[in-house]
């Protein structure tokens, strides 16, 4: 007879050497092979898991990627007293089926790395849903601590949770806490340390299958007995097989001899919908556990979330609110961020360039030019975008942290469907207004592979702050009072092109499965400043690292092309290239200087302004670029240029991100080819429209 429940794991000695994570220890300056306790944080999205992680680790965090995966990996160190705790913030998940990358990463980590303790952070006001994850976690060996977060919000919503009763019912340690107010965190640490050092046998309550499938599981377990290699547990493998888990099924096919696999296959074939029964049993188990431990005294009262959702998810009001939120964000970006960018430019570009010129008076001209135009002008200019990006990411972090972002995805769903995407893709694409790189990387949250690919391919068509900066500057110079209308029109046209290209790719190239839209709308809560701060910091850090590596390299290449062989840009390779392309440019009203400016935007979008400055000799004539340009170029040409630069291939950092995320040069090149065609077509049309308007 096969034992029905997962066998309890004998507790390993506490403070074992953490050999698997020596690199982690080194990152935090701990001696290799030293003692540390690994703690994995799991939980649904928006339950305050990151708040707990940030609280415990502060700035001792390392953010990277899971090896071979496109999921963010956050590891942090907590060294209060005694044994250091290495905390691993696992991605937010609702269950442990291998339906998404997040779920796969989470369960692989728990099974293969066997953390000493798993902390499940749960929203106390929504336990029924949150404990579903627990019903899956208890089937795995590592001991669990249940962190009941946001008990204050639960109280406000009329839900009282008896932590002790819950602990008894589950056979687990339960800690009530309010992470946002730093309440209960100390208790959590104590419990975690105690469990890590405890030799006691861990045997929590576990959900049982309903009787009809229990028999089936029994048979299944007998067939696979002796063929499941550690660290996998036969019971867990059996349950997952019955659930129809694709990954475990593949694994089992490899482990089992052919005739046994045949048996398994036959059993599974007859019970294809067992997942409904298994999941149903888990929800029943959760309900039974909660029965004595949770009292809802304010049943039926309208919560804040319900009241807000009446507006934010309404098809008309919801769109209005989203529009207002986006408008407010862009207002902040340009009203506060743009002046700050001007200041940064003084300190990061103009002043250092002047200082270098001054300091290197005796040096050859090309050295000074390399430093000032190449490095300071390229990477320095890039860095001036920090204030704009900081405000953008702060606003985004705010929307995300309060739970609003899910509502934005909800109201946008119907529009996203038109281009073969669904609401979830709206989030990464919206990120693109700040910078296309995080937009491409953010497409990871889109669950269906086809929809993720489409989101990545479309991301470069979202006008980023740099492109919008060039647009705003040139529109103001050429169109005076009409600048605002021109700017807005170009942005709208840009987004229409995005939609059309989406329809094209969806209907022609990427035909296939219709994507399913299923998303939980988390409860609204008060934003946590530390979480938002760290969100901004991680994005800015990634941006700065890129500026210091890819951008410096690319800036140097462009500098070389624009200075070799004569040292004068007018006779350089870049100019020769621009002249060769001039016949094409002419169609859109672009002379060779503008073609070169467009090409230079490949390094970084704002580069086109700098290159124009050099080519048109701004400064030498005593006129600034914005005063000089209208005397040299017609407004129609400017319109052609603007349309083209907005639709043009993205900057090199974005191209690198597209290659990395799609894992395919074919898709990357196809995307770039499409954008080239679209941008030239757009430029030509815009120029002709400009001529018709009498702007020639």
């Amino acid at each position: 007879m096969v034992e029905l429940k997962a066998p309890a794991r004998p507790r390993k000695a506490a403070s074992r050497p953490l050999t698997c994570c020596d690199t982690t220890l080194r990152q935090f300056g701990l001696p290799e092979g030293g003692n540390a306790v690994t703690v994995a944080l799991v939980g649904q999205p928006n339950v305050g898991k990151s708040t707990v992680f940030n609280l415990l680790t502060g700035l001792h965090q390392h953010v990277g990627n899971w090896p071979g995966k496109t999921i963010e990996q956050k590891v942090g160190l907590c060294q209060e007293e005694g044994v250091p705790l290495v905390l691993v913030d696992l991605p937010g998940t609702y269950s442990l089926t291998a339906g998404s990358e997040e779920e796969r990463v989470t369960r692989d980590f728990i099974i293969q790395q066997q953390p000493d303790v798993v902390v499940l952070v749960a929203d106390a006001s929504n336990l029924e849903r949150n404990l579903y994850l627990l019903s899956e976690l208890v089937l795995l060996p590592p001991p669990i601590v249940l962190a009941l977060n946001m008990v204050d919000v639960a109280e406000q919503n009329g839900i009282a949770v008896d932590a002790e009763a819950l602990s008894r019912a589950l056979g687990l340690s339960v800690v009530a806490m309010v992470a946002a107010k730093n309440v209960g965190v100390r208790d959590l640490l104590d419990v975690v340390e105690q469990i890590a050092c405890d030799q006691e046998v861990y045997s929590p309550a576990r959900p049982e299958l309903r009787p009809d499938h229990r028999q089936v599981l029994d048979t299944l377990l007998q067939v696979i007995e002796g063929h499941v290699p550690p660290p996998y547990q036969p019971y867990w493998v059996g349950v997952k097989l019955l659930e129809g888990d694709r990954e475990v099924t593949e694994l089992a096919r490899g482990w089992l001899p052919a005739e046994r696999w045949e048996k398994v296959h036959n059993i599974l074939f007859r019970h294809e919908d067992a997942i409904l029964d298994i999941a149903g049993g888990r929800y029943e188990w959760v309900a039974a556990v909660l029965e004595g431990a949770q009292i809802q005294h304010g049943l039926g009262q309208v919560t804040l979330t319900e009241r807000l959702d009446r507006w934010t998810t309404h098809p008309i009001w919801g769109l209005g609110i989203l529009g207002a939120a986006a408008a407010l964000m862009f207002f902040l970006v340009y009203a506060v961020g743009a002046p700050l960018q001007g200041l940064m430019e003084d300190y990061l570009v103009t002043a250092p360039a002047a200082w270098v010129t001054e300091a290197l008076q005796g040096a050859p001209g090309w050295v000074v030019s390399l430093l000032t135009d190449g490095i300071i002008g390229g990477a320095g200019t890039m860095l001036t975008f920090i204030p704009i990006l900081a405000i953008f990411f702060a606003a985004l972090g705010f929307f995300e942290d309060t739970g609003y972002m899910a509502r934005a995805a909800f109201v946008m769903d119907r529009f996203m469907h038109l281009i073969g995407l669904h609401g979830r893709s709206f989030l990464p694409l919206f990120l693109g207004f700040g910078c296309n790189v995080p937009a491409v990387m953010g497409a990871r949250i889109v669950d269906a592979p086809r929809a993720r690919l489409l989101s990545i391919l479309l991301a470069p068509l979202v006008p980023c702050t740099a492109r919008l900066g060039v647009l705003a500057t040139l529109a103001a110079a050429f169109f005076g009072p009409q600048a605002f209308v021109v700017t807005l029109t170009l942005i709208v046209v840009n987004l229409v092109v995005l939609a059309l290209l989406g329809v094209l790719l969806h209907r022609v190239v990427l035909r296939g499965e219709q994507v399913a839209f299923i998303m939980e709308l988390p409860l609204y809560h008060r934003p946590n400043l530390q979480s938002i701060g760290l969100f901004v910091w991680h994005h800015l850090k990634a941006f700065i690292v890129r500026a210091a590596t890819i951008i410096v390299g690319a800036s140097l290449v462009v500098w070389a092309l624009s200075n070799l062989p004569t040292g004068d840009i007018g006779t350089s390779y870049l100019a020769a290239f621009g002249r060769a392309l001039e016949p094409v440019g002419r169609l859109a009203g672009l002379n060779w200087e503008l073609m070169v400016a467009l090409l230079a935007s490949f390094v970084a979008k704002e580069n086109s302004l700098a290159v124009m400055g050099v080519l048109f000799g701004a400064g030498q004539s005593g006129l600034g670029l914005t005063d000089l340009l209208p005397t040299l170029i017609t407004p129609a040409s400017a319109l052609g240029f603007l349309a083209m630069q907005m639709l043009f291939i993205p900057c090199v950092a974005t191209v690198a991100a597209i290659k990395k995320e799609t894992g395919s040069w074919a898709w990357t090149l196809l995307d770039l080819g499409l954008l080239l065609v679209v941008s030239f077509a757009g430029g030509i049309i815009a120029y002709q429209v400009g001529l018709l308007l009498g702007w020639g």
């Binding site: 336990l127 579903y132 888990d245 409904l276 098809p315 119907r414």
Partner: protein, 83 residues
Amino acid sequence: MSEVGPLSGLAPGQSGTVAGCRAGHGLLGRLASMGFTPGSRVLMVNNYGHGPLLVMVHGARIALGRGEAARILVRRVEDVSHG
């Protein structure tokens, strides 16, 4: 017993119990873990006749595409408190 129909047929404020799901394996697993298991009570929160729907199941607010909602079969439950 009242009739069985697609979840997308419920009006806001109406509720039903899940009677089954007509979905392929991948979607079935996702719907099940999101709480759409047979016998679960679902309350329709938002249904404007087009676009995504918002329902409440096992205490969670779940947004669903109309196509997905049409695959979930529910048995209408008359509201006990008002009936």
